[in-house]
Amino acid sequence: MGIITEIRNSISQTVNGIFADDGTARIGIYGPPNAGKTTLANRIARDWTGEAMGAESQIPHETRRAQRKEDVTIERNGNSVTLDIVDTPGVSTKVDYQEFVDFGMDEDDAIERSREATEGVAEAMHWLKEDIDGVIYVLDSSLDPFTQVNTMLTGIIESRDLPILIIANKVDLEDASPQRIDQAFPQHETVPLSGLEGDNTDELYEKIAEQFG
């Protein structure tokens, strides 16, 4: 890296926090399938740009390609932070097309979906390698957070020294336990919310501005 770019980077860093090459931090929304990543991405994008990002579904692996929304400017307490939001495919260590058949899909579609899903998982991992500057990690708080995927994926993110904000999502569900998620990741800031109902998004935007601004 030349000395000029280095100076430019250090200048832009003081102005706008963690930076990608083009000057805007790219925040990846990560987590297991079905955690509510796209629902949350859509809410953030709608709140600040007026447009949604992608399809939501109760069938896992709905997102099979990463989607990027550029220049999402979030304003909080007089500060503003401009981010690229990247909604990524849910990460898992297995994909079984039979699961999609069980959701009523015909076999050919289920097989095609599982093929795309495996590519999606690999793509999510690729983005994490060099194209992501910070992570919003989304978990369904009605489920046990101590899964190997969560342990591995947060471990991978930590090993790359990326800032992480944990979302204890789906707090509107009766058996939601955001405390359990807080206890599982004591080293990270956790925001309990409902991406679907929009509960507690004020705190979300505050924490985003704090962590990634």
């Binding site: 260590t93 297995k94 690999a122 390698k129 599982a184």
Partner: protein, 128 residues
């Protein structure tokens, strides 16, 4: 070839391959990943005395995805013990301490449950 402990009662049995920390030390990342996936794809349960680094885990997920196919392999179940410490920080990382976790990996379509509590990983494997 890596050292192996084999349990195979022939028909319908489940083979368990255990690989020592010493042997793993001598293997490159891709050798470890292929050792794991070659075994698991044959229906074996693979136990690593020392676990994988975060980068190796990332690679394992990626390579697993490329090997999944509708007519057979549907991926892996994996559990590590002890759990990666949430406290593990910078020092642990340069000392490589969070690599010293025992890891059990098996074929997703044959492992009915792979359960871990604070002192035990138990795998329920269905014989084919």
């Amino acid at each position: 070839m890596p050292e192996q402990v084999k349990h195979d009662d022939g028909e319908g049995g489940v083979q368990i391959d255990m690989i020592s920390a010493g042997r793993m030390d001598e293997m490159t990342s891709m050798e470890k990943i292929h050792f794991i996936l070659d075994g698991v794809r044959e229906g074996k349960v693979v136990i690593l005395e020392a676990g994988l680094s975060p980068d190796e885990e990332a690679k394992l997920i990626e390579v697993t995805m490329t090997e999944i196919s509708p007519d057979g392999f549907s991926g892996i179940e994996i559990e590590s013990y002890p759990k990666e410490s949430p406290k593990s920080g910078f020092l642990d990382r340069i000392l490589g301490e969070d690599e010293s976790k025992m890891t059990v990996i098996g074929p997703a379509n044959q492992i009915e449950t792979l359960h871990k509590d604070s002192e035990l990983i138990s795998a329920v494997v269905s014989a084919r």
